[in-house]
């Protein structure tokens, strides 16, 4: 199918599914939906001709007759029974989604009073004031075809609200379970609002429970208000038949502090769009990511740090190891706008290629329109440091083991940035096993389900 046919099919879907899409959806969401339909008609699914998608061809991933659920589909069995997270000592507030929809039998959460965790649909109705203040304000359906598509199809996802001065101690873990007997395209839309001086940690996990082909197109909007502190950990762990399209839009207000860490461990094709808008002074941001790819997997991390206000600091570091026929791409854009003086923005991307056929394309970019800034970026592609390897061997360590140690040290630099200890230990363990080739895909899962 050509890209035009695919785009037209979606346009038909919006047309024919209009009443189903608008049913059970707030007026506000439907207004945004209508705008998004128009944007999508203009933008379509991004192709290789789009400079930002130069290294990721989405057409084959979209070229498939997926089922699209326009209404909540009743879950057979109890997901809570079917699935639980047993990472040792990882005590979280667990929220389950089913194919992108908020599961209607989630267990009660251990969260402070005033904190809201509910379905997006519910939030749009019951908390419309907060919802309408933020929904559709940070994502860019007018620029990004995937966001337009998400906004046009969005019905549900998770909504998290942390009121002023509240600290949520226990991380909130949102697990989206892809479970279907038909090949499925899932649309998940999340909204996270962290109010002034509040704090929270969020973990997003994706998990595929059946072997069907999946395409998930997720958009998350996150607003972090003044003095708030927010962590986002994204664990991507799907099977080879899955396409993960994940767009995150973060807006930071003055003096806020955000740390994100996107860990791509497994997946057929993964594309992450990660936008951070610095919309207040003295914000601090750490954007980290790691990708371990083998077989024919493909991962593409696209990040955009938009420094719109002065005196902010951003620090970005992505690392990847590619084996077999895996391909990876990285684009890191830093834009320092005219008035964003005293910005400090650092970015680095390091890659290790382990096999003949592995490929990395990396594009770190600086776009600087202010003059009083400290910016740097760097990218490296290479192999292991021969000197370090020799040093270890000279101390009697077997070459294979020495390589493993260095590779693990390479990845650990990103893992150690995780600010949830139990999660960090678990990822450390997983990555080591993964690099040693000791475990199958299912075991590489951070959430260690017992299916």
């Amino acid at each position: 199918m050509s890209i035009d046919t695919i785009n037209n099919d979606f346009a038909d879907l919006f047309e024919q599914g209009k009443s189903l899409l608008e049913d059970n959806s707030s007026k506000f969401m439907n207004t945004k939906r209508e705008e998004a339909v128009e944007y999508f008609k203009k933008l379509g699914v991004p192709t290789l001709a789009n400079e930002n998608y130069k290294y990721t061809n989405l057409v084959p991933a979209f070229d498939h007759p997926y089922t699209v659920d326009l209404q909540y589909r009743t879950v057979i069995g109890d997901l809570n029974e079917l699935f639980y997270c047993d990472v040792p000592e990882l005590d979280t507030n667990l929220v389950l989604l089913s194919n992108g929809w908020y599961y209607n039998q989630n267990r009660e959460l251990d969260i402070p009073k005033g904190v809201i965790v509910c379905s997006l649909q519910e939030a749009a109705e019951k908390h419309s004031e907060i919802f309408e203040k933020h929904y559709g304000k940070y994502a860019k359906p007018n620029e990004e075809g995937l966001v337009a598509l998400n906004t046009a199809l969005a019905k549900d996802g998770v909504f998290i609200y942390v009121p002023k001065n509240i600290v949520v101690e226990k991380p909130i873990q949102v697990i989206n379970l892809l479970r279907s007997d038909r090949d499925l395209m899932a649309t998940q839309r999340n909204l996270v609002v962290i109010e002034e001086n509040a704090q929270a940690k969020l973990i997003f996990c994706d998990h595929t429970l059946t072997h069907n082909k999946y395409l998930s197109n997720t958009v998350s909007e996150i607003n972090v208000a003044k003095n708030a502190v927010f962590d986002l950990y994204t664990l991507q762990n799907q099977h080879l038949n899955a396409t993960v399209l994940n767009s995150v839009f973060i807006r930071q207000e003055a003096n806020s502090n955000v740390l994100t860490n996107t860990l791509s461990l497994y997946g057929g094709m993964i594309r992450n769009n990660h936008y951070t808008l610095f919309d207040g002074e003295h914000c601090e941001n750490h954007t980290y990511g790691m990708y371990l790819m083998d077989r024919q997997q493909h991962v593409d991390n696209f990040t955009f740090a938009d420094h719109a206000k002065p005196n902010c600091v951003s620090n970005e570091h992505f690392k990847g190891v590619m084996d077999d026929d895996a391909t990876a791409a990285f684009t890191g854009k830093i834009h320092v706008r005219r008035d964003a003086q005293k910005t400090e923005a650092y970015q680095s991307n390091n890659n290790l290629l382990l096999s003949e056929n592995a490929v990395i394309n990396t594009k770190p970019q600086l776009i600087i329109d202010a003059d009083d800034v400290k910016c740097s970026h760097g990218a490296t592609v290479g192999q292991m440091d021969d000197d370090a390897l020799f040093y270890l061997r000279a101390r009697g360590i077997h070459e294979e083991e020495a390589r493993m140690m260095l590779m693990f040290a390479f990845a650990h630099e990103i893992i150690e940035k995780i600010r949830v200890d139990a999660l960090k230990d678990r990822i450390d363990e997983l990555v080591e096993k993964r690099l040693r080739g000791e475990i199958s895909k299912c075991n590489t899962c951070a959430i260690a389900c017992n299916q």
Partner: protein
């Protein structure tokens, strides 16, 4: 430093004048505006070209018609009306120059004024010059002395007449006419340029230089340079450019092709000082250039060194295809933009042969309201073992109304490659200025010192005479400026 003083100095910079902006009153043979197959036939027949040339031009033209102007660069260019350009203009001269006396005195005066004497006795020692005005080569010096060694250095048109076999063999092999929009346009309408052939085992005893000058109004300049270096040969080639100050924008779309064979070495230096437009951004040259060399043989070497201070818009990525095993290429660039200038420039290093090496050192200096972008590609293909690249791109900002951008592309398809890219953006530190002030050095001089120090790494790679000119140009372009 006080804000007012900064502004004052910035202002002085913005108002520094372009000193090559005069135009000369020379009889010009030009054709009517516009582009069509007939125009191309006319150009070809005026140049009395063999059939294969006309065919090449027509193929290029037909392909160009199917293409769109590229839009990916960080440039803001108003639409160009390609029918509003004169595609052929040449100073009227006698058919063949027998001696210096045959050169139109006005032309000689023009080049004297530019500091490029055409008189061989007056020339700087050891530089042979080919001079191209508007679309046509007016004079090549030292031709005979070079011919004794078997070196061919002449205008492209002469080469088409005298060495059609070499032209037919090599033209378009490094930059095919399908390569890009401007390459196609140039291939269709190019009028002249320089041709260099260095035979096997010969080290060219002097610097070869081409001086390009746009003079006539409403004309585009489309020249083409072809350099062939046979096994074990060496040449250092220099290129300089200026244009009069005119309010309308003029188009310059050139092609440079370089072929470097086994163990041969080419150094290609450019000082580009086309008219940049006035301080309000009116006028100036649109400079769209495709320069590419191929290191075809083993251990072939190609070095690019460029100082880019001119042009309203620069779109230029001198590139090297590293095909021969052990071949290497270096790219050194200083690009200065001021006022409303826009530059999107960089390089491409394509690693194909085993153990190929490339180095990229790019220094951008932005002032005024200008935008200066580095765009570079380092590509290592699948079967290329042991490739090494190191890139460093630094940007220096003077003032808060300019922009500096870096867009490196690293595409690595082989695990044995080692590719490193580093970039920094900085401004001249207030503490550095104060330190200089405290030693009695004025702010303006301090900036001059620092900018020249910043660019030194690149300027040092240029031949002596050019290095001096380049340094002066930097000073003129940025006379005392501060961030």
């Amino acid at each position: 430093m006080a804000k007012e003083e900064q502004d004052k100095i910035l202002n002085e910079v913005t108002q520094s004048d372009y000193k090559y902006g005069f135009s000369s009153d020379i009889d010009t043979d030009s054709i009517a505006k516009g582009l069509s197959e007939d125009v191309i036939r006319l150009i070809s027949s005026k140049k009395n070209e063999p059939e294969f040339m006309l065919e090449f031009r027509l193929k290029a033209y037909r392909h160009w018609l199917t293409m769109k102007m590229p839009e990916w660069a960080h440039l803001d260019i108003p639409p160009i009306d390609y029918q509003d350009i004169i595609y052929y203009a040449a100073p009227v001269q006698k058919a063949k120059l027998e001696s210096m006396d045959d050169v139109d005195p006005e032309i000689r005066a023009t080049f004297d004024k530019l500091g490029i004497p055409l008189d061989e006795q007056k020339l700087l020692s050891n530089v042979a010059v080919d001079v191209v005005m508007d679309s046509s080569s007016v004079k090549t010096t030292f031709k005979e002395a070079l011919a004794e060694k078997g070196i061919i250095f002449c205008s492209f048109s002469d080469a088409v007449q005298d060495h059609p076999d070499l032209i037919q063999e090599y033209m378009g092999t490094v930059v095919p006419y399908r390569d890009n929009f401007f390459a196609a346009l140039n291939s269709a309408v190019f009028s002249d340029g320089s041709f260099v052939y260095i035979p096997k085992g010969v080290r060219c005893p002097m610097e070869l230089s081409t001086y390009f000058r746009i003079n006539a109004e409403n004309t585009g300049q489309f020249e083409r340079t072809l350099i062939i270096c046979e096994d074990e040969s060496y040449v250092s080639y220099l290129e300089g450019c200026t244009a009069p100050m005119r309010d309308e924008n003029q188009l310059h779309a050139a092609i440079v092709e370089i072929i470097v064979k086994d163990n041969a070495e080419v150094k290609y230096s450019t000082v580009q000082n086309w008219y940049p437009g006035n301080k309000d951004g009116l006028g100036g040259i649109y400079n769209f250039v495709t320069k590419r060399g191929i290191c075809e043989g083993v251990n072939a070497k190609l070095m690019w060194a460029q100082v880019e201070t001119g042009s309203a818009v620069t779109w230029k990525y001198p590139s090297t295809i590293l095909k021969g095993d052990g071949s290497s290429s270096e790219f050194y660039s200083v690009a200065v933009t001021n006022n409303h200038q826009q530059a999107d420039t960089g390089t491409k290093m394509i690693h194909i042969g085993n153990n190929t090496k490339s180095t990229i050192i790019s220094k951008g200096i932005s002032a005024g309201k200008s935008n200066n972008s580095y765009r570079g590609l380092v590509k290592v293909v699948k079967n290329c073992e042991g490739a090494r690249n190191f890139s460093q791109c630094d940007s220096l900002l003077l003032g808060d109304k300019c922009g500096a951008h870096t867009y490196p592309y690293l595409e690595v398809h082989n695990k044995s490659a080692k590719v490193e890219h580093e970039a920094t953006t900085s401004k001249i530190g207030e503490d550095q200025i104060f330190y200089c002030n405290q030693r009695g050095i004025s702010t303006e001089d301090a900036i001059g010192l620092i900018v020249n120090g910043y660019a030194k790494e690149v300027i040092n790679k240029m031949p002596m005479e050019f290095a001096v000119e380049a340094q002066k140009l930097l000073a003129i372009s940025l006379e005392g400026s501060v961030g």
